[in-house]
């Protein structure tokens, strides 16, 4: 055999493998250095620095532990949760309530010891056990309302969801795509506004399909939505409250409208993956997140609206929040079990009506 050649091939292979192994070695070294307990939190990418300031850093100091944050959009984080079910890496995961129900249905979550949460009593009723199986606790509620250009007559006079169907808004209307939470909310409110049954939302889909020629686009990313407002493409759109501070920064004359038919409330919940190893510490983190002080601090910086009824945000922050009995009581919620059951059908129907000529 041609041993020099074998040697060369072998050498190249070894060289490549050694180089490939270097990062592996580096990673394992850094892992063995951390002695204290460490929690992995899977959450949204929004407001990472403010969450660090008000939640992560104070908790780290309190528990003398470490927090590793994994961010990403909900779909990917759920897919990874499912993929790693035999050996979960994540200790605490934050997602919308219906996604948590989806995860729960797949057997990916474990019950939270709700009795251990001292602050649970201060949480609004609807947030205490939204899935009715003790596997999730709401840590915030955000609402979906409308943002309009206040300087354009056609949009400045919008006061209800139904107004979105006005012909004067053609070419300047932006809606959210059903693949995102704001899209679901839009669909739900459209159905409600037009007198649908709220069990199958077909009225809503039909109505939206009817004006598909009027829209600039159905946005899929929050940044995309902001971009289109900033470039004067869109004059009106349904928006989640968490995006309002960024929209204000665009410098365009925008105002938030509370539509006549009401706003949709979406709860984000905290849950513990089944088989996660540090449940006791995680439950402390949940309790911390629900506490009045943390909820107030997050509200003051317009990160999230409080789920704790005793939070006391500053008066000047109230404009950017959902707070107070009147607002909270006026919120409409989607039922998580209906969403989980029907969503695939809605997406198919939506695609058929919106994406075909």
């Amino acid at each position: 055999m041609n041993s020099p050649l074998l040697a060369r091939v072998g050498l190249a292979f070894v060289l490549g493998s050694v180089l490939g192994a270097l990062p592996l070695v580096a990673q394992s070294q850094s892992q063995s250095q951390s002695q204290s307990r460490s929690l992995v939190v899977s959450t949204y990418g929004f407001n990472g620095d403010l969450l660090k300031k008000h939640v992560y850093d104070p908790f780290k100091a309190q528990c003398k532990c470490d927090l590793v944050i994994e961010t990403g959009n909900v779909a990917e984080r759920l897919a990874k949760l499912e993929a790693r079910r035999a050996n979960p890496v994540v200790d605490l995961i934050q997602m919308p309530d219906f996604t948590a129900l989806e995860a729960s249905n797949k057997g990916l979550l474990q019950p939270i010891a709700l009795a251990k949460l001292k602050n649970l009593g201060e949480v609004y009723d609807f947030g205490r056990d939204p899935l009715r199986n003790q596997q999730a606790v709401a840590n915030t509620v955000y609402l979906v309302g409308l943002v309009v250009r206040s300087d354009k007559p056609a949009s400045a006079s919008v006061t209800s969801w139904k107004d979105l169907w006005r012909p004067e808004l053609k070419g300047h209307l932006m809606l959210a795509n059903i693949t995102g939470n704001q899209g679901l909310a839009t669909l739900f409110m459209a159905d409600k506004a037009w007198g649908g049954l709220a069990t199958d939302l077909s009225t809503g889909i039909g109505k939206i399909a009817a004006i598909k020629g009027n829209v600039v686009t159905f946005y899929t990313q929050t940044a995309q939505m902001t971009a289109l407002f900033a470039q004067d493409e869109a004059w009106v759109a349904p928006v989640g409250r968490f995006a309002w501070p960024n929209l204000k920064k665009t410098g365009k004359p925008l105002k938030w409208v509370v539509p006549k038919e009401g706003q949709l409330g979406v709860m984000n919940v905290l849950a513990i993956p089944k088989g996660a190893k540090n449940a006791d510490l995680t439950e402390q983190l949940i309790d911390f997140w629900l506490s009045r002080d943390v909820q107030t601090a997050l509200a003051n910086d317009l990160v999230d609206s409080p789920i704790n009824r005793n939070a006391r945000p500053r008066a000047d922050a109230l404009d950017g929040l959902t707070f107070g009995a009147e607002q909270i009581d006026s919120l409409t919620f989607m039922k998580p079990d209906m969403v989980v059951r029907e969503r695939a059908g809605w997406v198919n129907q939506w695609n058929r009506m919106i994406s075909t000529r």
């Binding site: 041609n2 695939a344 695609n351």
Partner: protein, 268 residues
């Protein structure tokens, strides 16, 4: 002896791809083609029962095909011009061609959103030239996706063609001219056959890139210009339906292989 040597050279790469790529991918894709405990190809056929799927498939083929064709038409003259440029400048040119590849696809797509917007450069140009009275809807159309994909993929075609052309002996074209061929004949009968490898490689890369692109069609076209890859992502991410996604993936695979074969026949 020689044969054995050759296979030895091929072995590491083939093993690597077989074990660490093919096996996992086949395992995933196979999941979609098992009906009632037996293997079946029917999911591929039933995929087309849905009118939405037919429209998405046709749209994807159309845009990708057009982009491939356009890039070939534009890049051949460009590549021919480029190989005549002397070395120091050629390096600079090559660098310029590669430059767009280095800009993250997200940044590039957002810059198209800026350029094609209502108040963007192109609308300003059109209005300035008097071709239009008011801003046209350029964004969120098939045209926008076409332009975005073309810009994304063209460097691949250009580099492929340059690579193939530069090893062409310089006197070939001169010889053809001496023998009485005009420019077009020289190109069709001499240059094209000799550089067919470059065209096949470039064409396949561009077509494949276009049908598997996600960010650009998603952001520049939006949900109303749904393409195959965007649908695939939806199936995985939103509907948690990897089986459907696998069907689409196999469809993409088959289509690209067919196009690859087509290119091989065309350039002969």
């Amino acid at each position: 002896m020689h044969r054995r040597l050759a296979w030895l050279l091929l072995a590491p790469a083939l093993l690597f791809i077989a074990l660490l790529f093919m096996a996992p991918v086949l395992a995933l894709l196979a999941g979609a083609f098992r009906i009632d405990g037996a293997w079946a190809l029917s999911p591929l056929i039933t995929f087309f029962d849905e009118p939405l799927h037919r429209e998405v498939y046709w749209r994807t083929l159309r845009i990708a095909g057009l982009a491939t064709l356009t890039s070939a038409l534009v890049c051949y003259p460009a590549a021919l011009a480029m190989v005549r440029v002397p070395p120091p400048w050629r390096g600079l040119l090559t660098g310029l061609v590669i430059l767009p590849l280095m800009v993250s696809p997200i940044a590039r797509t957002y810059s198209w959103i800026v350029l094609l917007g209502r108040n963007g450069f192109f609308n300003a140009l059109l209005q300035g030239l008097g071709l239009s009275d008011e801003p046209l809807k350029l964004l969120f159309t098939e045209g926008a996706v076409f332009v975005g994909l073309l810009q994304l993929m063209m460097p691949l075609m250009l580099l492929s063609l340059v690579s193939a052309l530069e090893n062409l002996p310089a006197d070939v074209l001169a010889a053809a001219a001496t023998l009485g061929a005009n420019r077009w004949q020289a190109f069709a009968k001499v240059v094209l056959p000799l550089t067919q490898e470059g065209l096949i490689v470039g064409g396949t890369l561009v077509f494949t890139g276009c049908v598997t692109a996600y960010i650009t069609p998603a952001l520049l076209g939006g949900p109303q210009v749904l393409m195959l890859e965007t649908l695939l992502y939806q199936k995985v991410n939103v509907m948690s339906d990897p089986a459907s996604a696998s069907v689409i993936a196999v469809l993409l695979l088959v289509t690209t292989l067919m196009v690859n074969q087509l290119l091989k026949r065309v350039s002969k």
